[in-house]
Amino acid sequence: MAKVSTSKKACTVNPLKMSQPIGGTLAFMGVEGCMPLLHGSQGCTSFGLVLFVRHFREAIPMQTTAMSEVATVLGGLENVEQAIVNISNRTKPKIIGICSTGVTETKGDDVDGFIRIIREKHPELDHVKLVYVSTPDFKDAFQDGWAKTVTQMVRDLVSAPQPGAPRRTGHVNVLPGCHLTPGDIDELREIIEAFGLTPSFLPDLSGSLDGHIPDDFTPTTLGGISLDEIAAMGSAEITIAVGEQMRVAALAMQEKTGAPSVVFDRLTGLAPNDELMALLARVSGRPVPRRYRRQRGQLVDAMLDGHFQFGGKKIAIGAEPDLLWATASWLHELGCEITAAITTTHSPLLELVPTDEVLIGDLEDLEHRAADCDLLITHAHGRQAAERLHIPLFRLGIPTFDRLGAGHVLTVGYRGSRDLIFDIGNIFIANAHEAEPDTWKIPNEASDDASASVTTH
C-alpha cells in the first residue's frame, strides 16, 4: 500500500503533467473525419499541436476558436459559431470534437447552450456531429481529458440497441486508455481477431496516428474509427476497457448497451495477459491460438533470462496514473524496487502501486528522489534530470519528441511485456558496473564517511 500525497510546493518545476484539453483532443483524433477544436486562445491549440507533431511525427488536425481578449470578456458564442462554420466549409469534417480550455472556463462559456443555438441557426450543418467536453486546464490532467472525451463520445455517438434486437455475435468493444500507443492498439486488434472476434476501438489511434501513408489527403484525421462503427458499438457482445481511467466510459457503454464490460487496469505483465486470453477464449468459445501459446512461452523465457538484470534494481518512474501502474507493477513483478513514483492526477490505483509513496508532483520531485536509482522512466522531459543525475532514461509516454517511433512502442500483450524486458534489461546491461581493482578494496574503518564503506552492487 502506497501513501498518496500531493506536492506542497507553490511552484511547479519541470512539469510532468500536461493539460486535459489536449488529452481530450487526442481522443478525438482516433475518430475518422474528425476535426478537434479547442475553445480558447489560439496558443492553447498551437502548443498542443506542436507537442503532438513532435511526438507522432505526423500532421495533426487541430483547430481553435481563436478567442481574443474582447471575445473572451463578451463570451465565445460568435467564435464557436464561426469556427464550426469555417471548419465545416474548409475541411468538410464528419464530426467536430470541441474541448474547452482555462480561458473559456474561467469566463464560464455555456458551450452546450451555444451548440443548441448554432444548431437552430445552421440547419445546413446538421450532417456534422458536434461533441462537446468540458476540460478546464486548471483542473485534472491529460489522462482525465482523454477519459472524459471518450465517455462523452459513448454517450453522444453510440446507438442503444433496439429492445429485443439480437447482439452482433463476436463483436467486442475496446476502450483503450491514453497510455496505449497506436502500436498497442494494433497488437490488441491482432490478438482479438485471432480468436475470430471483431473488435471496435474507441478511439482508434492506430488508424490515424500510426504513421501510414494515406490514400488521400484530408485536413481532418487520416483514419480512426468511423461514426457508423461507433454507433454500431451499441450492439456488441462485450466491452473491454484498458486502464482504470476508462472505467467511467465502460460503465457508460454498459448502461447504453446492456452488454457486460470488463476493465483491465493493465495489459502489461504475465498475469493480466493470461486473464485477457482466458476472457477472449470464453467470449469466442475458441481455444487460445497457437501463436499466443508460443508468445506466452517466449515471455516466460524472457522473464527467466532477464531476471538476473532486474532483481534489486531501483527504479524512479514519473508517469500518468495508468501508465505508472502498468509499468511499476510489471517491473516490481520482475524483481525491481520502485523507489520513486510521481504522477499527475488522482486515481484509485495510486495506493496500490508497489512502492512506499506516490506523489502527485513534477519532475523536480522525481529528480530529487531518483538520485541513487538505476533507471529513470518518464517522458522525454526527463532527459535533463537524467543527464544531471548520470542515470539512464527510458522514455515512456507522451511526449517522446527526441526518439523515433514513439507511436509504435509496444507495452501490451505477451509480446509487449516481453519487449519491455529486452529494452529495459539492455539498458541495465549497457550500464552495468565493470569490476575494477578498487571495487572490493577494504573499507577504511577510520573514515568518517560512512557511505564510502557501502560497496556498490
Binding site: A10, C11, T12, V13, N14, P15, K17, M18, S19, P21, I22, L37, G40, S41, Q42, G43, C44, T45, S46, F47, L49, V50, L51, V53, R54, A59, Q63, T64, T65, A66, S68, E69, T72, N79, V80, Q82, A83, V85, N86, I87, R90, T91, T101, G102, V103, T106, K107, P136, D137, F138, K139, I213, P214, D215, D216, F217, T218, P219, H381, Q384
Partner: protein
C-alpha cells in the same frame, strides 16, 4: 489591464515601422495584428511570442503564471543554445488550480518566486502573464514589485496573455518588458569602441556561434545579444553598446528603435543568412562602429575577413552548386526569416517557386518580392490537399518549411528540410550557408526517394495516380461547367480576416460603383482586418472597372 492596453497601443504606434507610418491615424489605432479567424487560425499566441523572445536569456528563471497548458504542454521545445547556464531550460510554472482561479493566484505567484530564488538563485526572475490570471485580475506587476523589494532580486513582469494577439505582438511585448525593467539597470565592467548589441537573434541550434568567431577575430565584442545565449547582466548593460544590429526583421524593432532614442545607439537591419547578407552585415557593423569612434582601419580588416570567408564558402558551395543548379525549391515559412532564406538559396543556384508569408509583415513581403522578382508566389493558409496540388504544379524538387507542414511534404514523398525554430541544423553565417546547401543536397540525393515512390506489388495504381486523377477530374468538371467554375472563382476568399470572397467584392464594386479600396472596405468589410489583402482588392477593382469600361464603350 490598462498597463497592457497602453503597451499594446504603444507597440502599434511603432514609428520605426515603415508600414505603420503609411497608415492613417485611425488605422494606426486599430493596430497591426491580424484579426484571427476562428476555425481557420494557426500559430502561436502572444505568450508564445514573448517566451520565444526572452527564454534564450540563459541564466534567468522563466516563470509562467497560468494553468498547466501554457507551460506544461510547451516547455523545453525550442532550440536556443547556451554556452553556460542551463537554467533557462528548467521549467517553472504556477500551474494554477481551481482554487486559485476563484480566490486569485497572486499568493501562489509570490510563493513561487520565493521558492525559485531560494532553490535556484538566479540573477533575475521573469514572470509571464497568461490569459487566465489576466482574466481573474492578478496584478503581476504589484507582485513582481513586492518580490523585487522583499527578495532582493529583479523580478520582471512580462504582460503577454495569449488572447491579446499573435506571436509577433508577443515578441514586441517581451521587448517592452526588458526595455522597462532590464536594459540600463546595470553597468558593464568596461566598455570598448567595438561593443555592439545584436537584437532579435535567438541562437537557435547555436547559429550565433557561426557568426561570433568572425566578430571575435575582428575584435568586435557582442556586449549583449538580445536574447540568444545572453546572460541577464549582459542585457542589463546593453545600453552601453556603440551600435546595434537588428536581426529578426520586425520582431524586436521596438527595442532597437527605443535604444537608439534613449541611449543614442544607432542600429541597422541585417541578416546572417546568405553569403551576401552576411558580408553586408559585417560591413554595416564596422561602418556604424567607425561612425561612433572606432578606428577606420576596422573596415580594412573587415573587408579582408569578408574576402577570405566568401572565397572559402563559394569554394565549398561550388561542389554542390552544379548538382543543385536549377533545382526548384518550394519555400513555406513564417515571416521572420523568409526573405533572408530566399537570398541564401539563390546563391546556391536554386530556383524559388513559392513562399508562405503568414506571419510576415508587409515589408517582409516587399523584400521577398524584390529578391524574387515580381512573380513571387505567395501562399497563405494552405490546406494539405492544396499543398499536394501545388507541389505537383510547381514541379518542386524539395520543400523547405517549418516543422508543422513537414508531414504533408513527406507524405507526398517529397524531399523536405526544416528551416524553422525546432530545426536541428544551424544555417547562419558563411559556414551556415554551406551547411544549408549541404543539407539540401543530402535530402535531394538520398536513395530513399526512388524506393518509397515505387508502388506496392499489389497496387495497380499508385496513390499519386489516384490523387492526380482526382485533381484532373476536378479540373475537368470545372472546364465542362463554366457556371461551377465561375461559382468557384467567386467563392475564393480575398480577405481572410473577415472571410470575404471575390464575388462579394466584385458585386459591391459594380452595384455601388466603387472606385477606391477604402470604399470597398467600407461596403464589404474586406480589408478591414489586417489589411494584407489591399493589393488583391486593388487588382479586383482594376479588373472590374476595366471590364465595366469595355462594356460601356461597347
Amino acid at each position: 489591464m490598462s498597463t497592457l492596453a497602453n503597451k499594446i497601443q504603444e507597440v502599434f504606434n511603432e514609428p520605426g515601422c515603415g508600414k505603420n507610418q503609411g497608415k492613417s491615424e485611425k488605422e494606426r489605432k486599430k493596430g497591426c495584428t491580424k484579426q484571427l479567424t476562428p476555425g481557420g487560425a494557426a500559430g502561436g499566441c502572444a505568450f508564445d511570442g514573448a517566451k520565444i523572445a526572452l527564454q534564450p536569456i540563459t541564466d534567468v528563471a522563466h516563470l509562467v503564471h497560468g494553468p498547466i497548458a501554457c507551460e506544461g504542454n510547451s516547455w523545453d521545445n525550442r532550440g536556443a543554445k547556451s554556452s553556460g547556464s542551463q537554467l533557462y531550460r528548467t521549467s517553472f510554472t504556477t500551474d494554477i488550480n481551481e482554487t486559485d482561479v476563484v480566490f486569485g493566484g497572486e499568493k501562489r505567484l509570490y510563493k513561487s518566486i520565493k521558492e525559485i530564488i531560494e532553490k535556484y538563485d538566479p540573477p533575475a526572475v521573469f514572470v509571464y502573464q497568461t490569459c487566465v490570471p489576466a482574466m481573474i485580475g492578478d496584478d503581476i506587476g504589484a507582485v513582481c514589485k513586492t518580490a523585487t523589494e522583499k527578495l532582493g532580486k529583479p523580478v520582471v513582469p512580462i504582460y503577454s496573455p495569449g488572447f491579446v494577439g499573435a506571436k509577433n505582438l508577443g515578441n514586441k511585448l517581451a521587448g517592452e518588458a526588458i526595455l522597462d525593467y532590464v536594459i540600463g539597470t546595470e553597468e558593464p565592467e568596461y566598455t570598448t569602441p567595438y561593443d555592439i548589441n545584436i537584437i532579435g537573434e535567438y541562437n537557435l541550434s547555436g547559429e550565433l556561434w557561426q557568426v561570433k568567431p568572425l566578430l571575435d577575430e575582428l575584435g568586435i565584442r557582442i556586449l549583449a545579444c538580445i536574447s540568444g545565449d545572453a546572460k541577464y547582466h549582459e542585457v542589463a548593460c546593453s545600453h552601453r553598446a556603440k551600435a546595434a544590429m537588428m536581426v529578426c526583421s520586425k520582431a524586436m524593432i521596438n527595442i532597437a528603435r527605443k535604444m537608439q532614442e534613449r541611449y543614442d545607439i544607432p542600429y541597422f537591419e541585417g541578416s546572417f543568412y546568405g553569403i551576401g547578407d552576411m558580408s553586408d552585415s559585417l560591413r554595416e557593423i564596422a561602418r556604424l562602429l567607425i561612425e561612433r569612434g572606432a578606428p577606420a582601419e576596422l573596415m580594412e580588416r573587415t573587408e579582408a575577413v569578408i574576402a577570405r570567408e566568401e572565397a572559402r564558402a563559394w569554394k565549398e558551395i561550388e561542389v554542390y552548386k552544379q548538382r543543385l543548379a536549377g533545382k526548384r525549391v518550394l519555400l513555406i515559412t513564417g515571416g521572420v526569416k523568409s526573405w533572408s532564406v530566399v537570398a541564401a538559396l539563390q546563391e546556391g543556384g536554386m530556383e524559388i517557386v513559392g513562399t508562405s508569408v503568414k506571419k510576415s509583415t508587409k515589408e517582409d513581403k516587399e523584400k521577398i518580392k524584390e529578391i524574387m522578382g515580381q512573380d513571387a508566389h505567395m501562399i497563405d493558409d494552405m490546406t494539405p490537399r492544396e499543398m499536394y496540388k501545388m507541389l505537383k504544379e510547381a514541379k518542386a524538387d524539395i520543400m523547405l518549411s517549418g516543422g508543422r507542414s513537414q508531414f504533408i511534404a513527406l507524405k507526398a514523398k517529397m524531399p523536405w528540410l526544416d528551416i524553422n525554430q525546432e530545426r536541428h541544423h544551424a544555417y547562419a553565417g558563411y559556414v551556415g550557408m554551406v551547411e544549408l546547401v549541404r543539407e539540401i543536397d543530402k535530402a535531394l540525393s538520398n536513395p530513399i526517394w526512388e524506393q518509397v515512390r515505387r508502388p506496392a506489388p499489389w497496387d495497380e495504381t499508385t496513390w499519386e495516380e489516384v490523387a492526380d486523377a482526382a485533381i484532373a477530374k476536378e479540373a475537368a468538371e470545372l472546364a465542362a461547367n463554366p457556371e461551377l467554375a465561375e461559382q468557384k472563382r467567386r467563392a475564393q476568399n480575398v480577405c481572410n480576416c473577415k472571410a470575404i470572397d471575390t464575388g462579394t467584392i466584385e458585386d459591391a464594386i459594380r452595384d455601388h460603383k466603387l472606385t477606391t479600396v477604402e470604399r470597398i472596405t467600407e461596403h464589404t468589410h474586406a480589408g478591414g482586418g489586417c489589411g494584407k489583402c489591399a493589393g488583391s482588392i486593388a487588382s479586383i477593382l482594376a479588373r472590374v472597372s476595366e471590364t465595366a469600361s469595355v462594356t460601356e464603350a461597347a
